[in-house]
């Protein structure tokens, strides 16, 4: 242990707020690193063909991209410690180009690792109880959850114990590691859905039945990609003890009957669509009834063991309102803007949830430099019980900050260009890497995000526009989730030129909706202008307190088509 590690090890005695590996977890992840090291060696000496190696490396998060390999590291249910964040920064410096990219699925991507270095990177991750297991490949992917888990005011139950339970169950599953296609599970335990559970292969919503017992609504077959679908409920209430057995039943039906003839029709959403919800539910229930559920009968004991790790940190008893915080807001307009946009109410009086935007004006959505990662780690250590979260909007969350500390935290963040007050606003754009990095992309997406961000760089105007999600994908695979953006942008290639389709009305929450196409595609240079026209229509028509999405629902798509027509008529800026 070097001096640096010791400094942080001192905090290891602090009560845990997240899962800690025991000897079994450590041995398991270590075995996966050793196995992967051997797999790389066997690929290089020819024992494994490239076709054989590809699924093995993918199952360990390693993609071959346009320019280089990309390593995707899992941040299970989006929770990480300051120590883990520091390690991510070290890896970025040592084996990458000094930065990393936080994704919409609570993962971190390194864009420039070398194949031969990846076993060492994985070992460095394993040291801090992290891995890249099943962040890619046709298997059960990293399980995601609400980024406000454990601290949200509207929460029924912290979804993270369930997610950790599923992380373990899904790791190197003997039967479900070679599925027709990837399989994504998300868990939410709050009234408001911040985990997009209706757009996952399986979405789980923790809630109580009429007797007050906790269980799950099981939603199946949601997804984006080429054919977007809103997930459908197969069980309104599943008793907790049956969770694993029921998931095994769903996965077994999918593994056997999911299509394998066409990778674009292989997700479970297509099986649901083609088989019909009623018939598929019957098949799942038949399998569930036929299987031996005894091996799963001890679930609850293990669940309680895991739940013990997610205890609340030692909060102080504080007044609900911090005088120091209010005073700082009055004195500093920039801080006040940050406080009104990036700070969310916490369930404990005197505390706050802080969203740190990784969307600086004109920046690359989700990117953080190693220095910024270290500042985030320091911020968590000084002001937030050493804990951080990654949101599916590609931002970082500090889940437990004393209101008294918010001003000092803001100054620390501001010094590292991490205080952009735009969480949830028009420049808080979700974007895939697009043609600049990705081998699948048909158009650029990052430069489009940057152009929109620049166009709306006036933060006061952004606040006036209010809550609005713009999501951009650089191809129909929809990694930028454009289908569920209130404004979605899809980059395509048309006769050798980039063309961008705009959709309106997408909604990732429980009121789930897939965006509707506004009209013909526009060229890259016009995207920001069309969006500005849409915003002008909205500002003119909106009622008091009405969000863009609500106004669109009330007014209808036709009212917004004008934005495109006007653009088409004279092509000039409006």
């Amino acid at each position: 242990m070097n001096a640096h590690d010791q400094r942080h090890a001192a905090r290891a005695n602090a009560p845990t707020t997240t899962y800690l590996y025991d000897a079994y977890d450590k041995a398991f992840v270590k075995s996966r690193v050793d196995e992967f090291r051997e797999q790389v060696r066997r690929r290089l000496d020819g024992a494994l063909s490239e076709d054989e190696f590809r699924p093995l490396r993918l199952m360990n998060g390693l993609y071959l991209q346009l320019h280089a390999y990309m390593l995707r590291v899992a941040i299970p249910y989006g929770t990480l410690t300051s120590r883990q964040m520091r390690r991510l920064a070290e890896i970025a410096d040592k084996w990458d180009k000094g930065y990393g990219h936080f994704t919409t699925r609570q993962n971190l991507q390194y864009n420039w690792p070398k194949l031969v270095d990846t076993p060492d990177i994985l070992e460095a991750l394993a040291d801090v109880e992290m891995h890249a297991i099943q962040t890619s490949g046709n298997c059960i992917r990293n399980v995601t959850a609400d980024q406000f888990a454990g601290v949200a005011t509207d929460e029924f139950e912290d979804p993270r114990p369930t997610a950790e339970f599923l992380r373990q169950w899904s790791s190197l599953h003997p039967e479900f590691s070679f599925l027709p296609r990837k399989f994504k599970i998300a868990v939410s335990g709050a009234k408001e859905d911040r985990a997009a559970i209706k757009f996952h292969d399986i979405g789980l919503r923790v809630h109580a039945n009429e007797r007050g017992e906790a269980g799950y609504e099981v939603i199946v077959g949601g997804g984006l990609g080429r054919s977007p679908f809103v997930g459908k409920t197969v069980r309104a209430f599943l008793p907790r003890a049956d969770l694993l057995a029921y998931l095994e039943a769903i996965l077994r039906v999918y593994n056997r009957f999911g299509r394998r003839d066409n990778k674009y029709k292989a997700r479970i959403k297509i099986l649901v669509h083609e088989t019909g919800l009623e018939q598929l539910t019957r098949e799942i229930e038949t399998e569930f009834a036929a299987m031996d559920r005894a091996p799963f009968a001890f679930d609850l004991e293990e669940f309680e063991r895991i739940r013990g790790f997610f205890a609340p940190p030692p909060y102080e008893t504080l007044p609900a309102r911090s005088e120091a915080f209010e005073e700082a807001r009055r004195k500093d307009a920039a801080f006040d803007a940050f406080a009104s946009v990036n700070v969310t109410e916490h369930k404990i009086p005197g505390y706050a949830i802080v969203t740190v935007s990784l969307k600086p004006i004109g920046g690359i959505p989700g990117d953080a430099t190693s220095d910024q990662m270290r500042v985030l780690a320091e911020a968590a250590e000084r002001f937030g019980f050493g804990e951080l979260r990654v949101s599916h909007a590609q931002n970082i969350v500090l889940p437990h900050v004393k209101q008294d500390d918010l001003f000092a935290l803001w100054r620390l963040l501001d010094g590292a260009k991490l205080a952009t007050p735009n969480a949830g606003l028009i420049s808080d754009i979700v974007s895939c890497p697009g043609l600049d990095y990705c081998a699948l992309a048909t158009a650029r997406s990052i430069p489009i995000a940057q152009a929109i961000s620049e166009r709306f760089k006036d933060l006061e105007r952004q606040r006036l526009i209010g809550e609005l999600g713009i999501k951009i994908s650089g191809c129909i695979n929809a990694c930028g989730h454009h289908h569920i953006g209130a404004i979605g942008v899809l980059g395509l290639e048309k006769r050798g030129k980039e063309s961008y389709q705009i959709t309106l009305g997408g909604d990732p929450t429980l009121s789930a909706a897939i965006g509707e196409l506004l009209g013909p595609g526009v060229v890259a240079e016009d995207v920001a202008t069309v969006i500005e026209s849409l915003i002008e229509i909205y500002l003119r028509e909106r009622r008091e307190g009405e969000r863009f999405l609500d106004a669109w629902r009330r007014l209808g798509q036709a009212r917004f088509k004008e934005a495109l027509l006007r653009e088409g008529e004279d092509g000039a800026d409006i």
Binding site: D22, Y24, D25, A27, F28, S31, D34, E35, E38, Q39, R42, G46, A47, L48, S49, D51, E52, P55, L56, N138, Q168, W169, S171, L172, H173, P174, E175, F176, S177, F178, L179, R252, N255, R256, R260, A290, M291, D292, A294, P295, F296, F298, E301, E302, R305
Partner: protein, 167 residues
């Protein structure tokens, strides 16, 4: 083809019958699912008999024959096609106690997946056997001490180990 059991290459005492071949009087033979009823009718009831299934086979249709069979082989057309793992589970669940064989393009890295789903032996294509020697198949079996899942064969489940360990 090469046959692997417990991380070693072994002799195969079974012979796969070609579709046009007539049923032999003796020896251990494996027939296709289409010829299963014919073979059961034609062979003495104590003649060792095996069947090769496509990974899309319906285990319910096979259930009446399971007690008569000494071997069930399931085809793996490609390493990425995991249907055979679920089919193996279902055939074990239906009570099959004989040799369950994975047959086709599995690689050493999938050896424990196969064993845990209930397979006893793995039969692989010669080109894979030429690249992946016994050492690799054997090493694959000891790559992990324990796995997380319960209710699967061949290896201790971490949850069970945790419960045994003193708190």
């Amino acid at each position: 083809m090469a046959l692997i059991s417990e991380g070693r290459f072994i002799e195969d005492g079974w012979r796969r019958l070609a579709e046009e071949e007539s049923l032999p009087k003796e020896g251990k033979c494996i027939v296709s699912e289409a010829r299963l009823a014919e073979a059961i009718g034609a062979l003495p009831s104590d003649a060792p008999l095996g069947v090769l299934l496509a990974n899309t086979a319906d285990p319910a249709k096979l259930a009446p024959y399971l007690s008569r069979l000494s071997l069930v082989a399931i085809a793996f057309p490609a390493p990425g096609d995991g249907r055979g793992f679920s089919l193996a589970r279902l055939i074990r669940r239906a009570g099959f106690k004989g040799e369950l064989r994975a047959s086709g393009r599995l690689i050493a890295d999938q050896a424990t997946h196969a064993l845990r789903c209930g397979f006893d032996t793995i039969e692989i294509a010669s080109d894979i056997a030429a690249r992946q020697n016994a050492a690799q198949w054997s090493a694959a079996l000891s790559a992990y001490g324990a796995f997380y899942q319960q209710g699967y064969a061949s290896r201790a489940a971490i949850l069970a180990e945790r419960r045994k360990a003193p708190a």
